[in-house]
């Protein structure tokens, strides 16, 4: 069993896109539990994150790893139970109103899922009210807001205000990220953290989850 788990972890970490699906199928056929294979993939993603932070991997490599993870989860999905996925809590993620850039947002969603979070991805150009609804409906513990356009940073404030008005602000942590986000915006809008990239985002949400 350990041999399969090591191979899965390595295939993910080494970005072997063509290998992952057949390898997972082979492992399932050999009787390896899907939940253990999912954990091995998550461990591989962690290595991807480490290599990114060390400067050995780049944004495209994170995206490729994300695609690999999605492909792998599709293979495992029929064999997983509800409790195997998203056990670390729920995070609502979106690109804010007025902005439709989604590369960074998608990457954060994939990396958070692989790190064991249940991610509610609201998509792009999302008004503040929808964030509030999603937080309430999913009992989310945290919110991730992505914004690339300088002209739309005010939408961050709208989400913060809407969460305050709904009485939910004290029960959720908010992180922001994207090309135009700065420490000044964290202070201006009273959010809790700023993530420079998807790997840092995982670290921030993991810190809050623990």
């Amino acid at each position: 069993m350990q041999d399969y788990l090591d191979r899965v972890k390595r295939a993910l970490a080494d970005l072997e896109l063509d290998e992952i699906s057949p390898l997972l199928q082979e492992a399932l056929d050999a009787g390896i539990p899907a939940s253990a294979l999912l954990e091995a993939m998550s461990a591989g993603m962690e290595m991807v994150g480490e290599r990114f932070e060390a400067g050995d991997y780049f944004l495209a490599d994170l995206v490729l790893a994300g695609e690999e993870m999605k492909e792998g989860v599709e293979v495992l999905k029929p064999h997983l139970s509800a409790g195997d996925i998203g056990g670390r809590g729920t995070v609502v993620v979106c690109t804010v109103r007025g902005d439709i850039h989604d590369i960074g947002k998608n990457l954060v969603c994939t990396m958070l899922r692989s790190a064991g979070f249940n991610v509610v991805d609201l998509g792009v150009d999302v008004p503040a009210e929808r964030v509030v609804e999603a937080v309430r409906a999913n009992s989310a513990a945290a919110v991730g807001l992505s914004v690339l356009l300088t002209t739309m940073v005010g939408s961050i404030g709208e989400v913060v205000e809407a969460l305050k008005e709904s009485g939910l602000r004290d029960s959720v942590k908010i992180a922001i990220g994207g090309a135009c986000t700065t420490p000044e915006l964290v202070e201006r809008y009273g959010v809790d953290a700023l993530g420079r990239d998807a790997v840092e985002a995982v670290r921030i949400f993991s810190g809050w989850a623990s």
Partner: protein, 388 residues
């Protein structure tokens, strides 16, 4: 006192001019209109009128909109030049990018395969459309993609730049921009995820696309040279705030030789060529020098680019352009903050010449007052020889 052309050329050739030249990117109607004391264009007013949206949706779905959008783009080029001269800039990045087509009052496509949202600012100006996704999903999509409009681009750009160069070239050093770079024109019509997977599994397909776009760039350069434009902008966002989007090895493998060919084409025409890439480009700058570009822009401080470090590492081989922040300083900064940013940039990059002061992007919400403060500060603190 040197004229604008000599001043900018000296900086591009890494010599000391009489003072640090000032340049701006004239890519947005709101800023050009504000400088020229003009309101939004009538067409823009029509597009934002919600009552007319159903009519426009019908019209745009049935009729070709190229004449409409191309005319708007030509107006931006002319208006940008007039605004740059009024501001007293030494140089301007002028855009003539007649590639957009309305599909409805809310959606545009471009001739390369991007789907974008129409974007209108608070005062009713049409601003740069916002990229949503790519329309080319497969090698077959690209094979049958209509290229006639793309191939007409050099001719259209030539006509507009010839006129603008003739009218404004004596008072403004023009950097001509007529197309997105070969990386952006490849990945955006595909979508980034699709591009990344193709870079692993379908390199020949990507190479065909990249080669096509590089050929087009060379034709555009020749068209601008023929129009008398002295410099060409190659804009390709290779980086984002944390660093390069692709590994430098993959960039070199897929794009390196094409960048060299593009730079060589400009030089063969007697033009200078600028490489623009947003994001933290620090680790890519030596490659840009190696590819043969004369200048690099914008060296964003908010992406973590340290200007003094750039000057130290590549400043003896390439002209440095930019570095004045548009996320805060040129939007809402105080006069003192604008002056401090200008002085800091000149201190870090001005020594010995080879530096052109410019905003680090063009955005519709940049304040004209702050741009004026930037110019005044550059004139006050940017004279050569520098004080020890």
């Amino acid at each position: 006192m040197a004229d604008q052309h000599d001043r900018v050329l000296a900086a591009l050739e890494l010599r000391e001019p009489d003072r640090v030249p000032v340049m701006d990117l004239m890519n947005e109607f709101p800023v050009a209109n504000a400088i020229l004391d003009r309101g939004p264009n009538p067409l823009h007013r029509l597009i934002i009128d919600e009552r007319l949206a159903p009519v426009l949706d019908q019209l745009f779905a049935r009729l070709p909109t190229a004449a409409l959008t191309d005319r708007e783009m030509e107006q931006l080029t002319r208006r940008g030049a007039a605004a740059a001269v009024r501001m007293g800039y030494d140089a301007a990045w002028l855009t003539c990018f007649p590639v957009l087509r309305f599909r409805s009052s809310k959606v545009m496509t471009d001739i390369f395969g991007r789907l974008c949202d129409v974007s209108i600012d608070a005062s009713g100006n049409l601003v740069n459309p916002i990229y949503r996704e790519g329309l080319i999903k497969s090698p077959d999509d690209w094979r049958v993609w209509p290229k006639r409009d793309i191939l007409r681009l050099p001719e259209k750009v030539h006509r507009v730049f010839q006129e603008v160069q003739r009218e404004y070239g004596g008072r403004l050093f023009i950097f001509g921009f007529g197309n997105y770079g070969i990386f952006e024109n490849t990945w955006q019509p595909l979508g980034f995820e699709r591009f990344v997977v193709a870079a692993r599994k379908e390199k020949d397909f990507l190479r065909r696309m990249i080669s096509f776009h590089a050929d087009l760039h060379c034709l555009l350069i020749e068209a601008m040279a023929d129009a008398g434009v002295p410099a060409f902008v190659h804009t390709d966002d290779l980086a984002y705030r944390s660093g390069p989007m692709l590994s430098p090895r993959l960039i070199e493998e897929l794009f390196g030789d094409h960048y060299r060919r593009i730079a060589e084409t400009a030089h063969a025409q007697g033009m200078k060529i600028l490489f623009h890439s947003c994001g933290n480009t620090t680790t890519l700058l030596p490659s840009m020098v190696d590819w043969g570009f004369d200048a690099v822009h914008p060296l964003e401080p908010t992406a973590g680019v340290a200007l003094a470090e750039v000057k130290r590492t590549v400043g003896d081989r390439v002209c440095i352009i930019g570095n004045i922040d548009v996320s805060h300083v040129l939007v809402e900064g105080s006069r003192e903050e604008v002056e401090a940013a200008v002085r800091s940039a000149i201190r870090d990059a001005g020594e010995g010449g080879g530096f052109i002061l410019a905003p680090d992007h063009s955005l519709p919400n940049i304040s004209v007052d702050r741009l004026r403060w930037m110019v005044e500060a550059a004139h006050r603190y940017g004279t050569y020889p520098r004080e020890g």
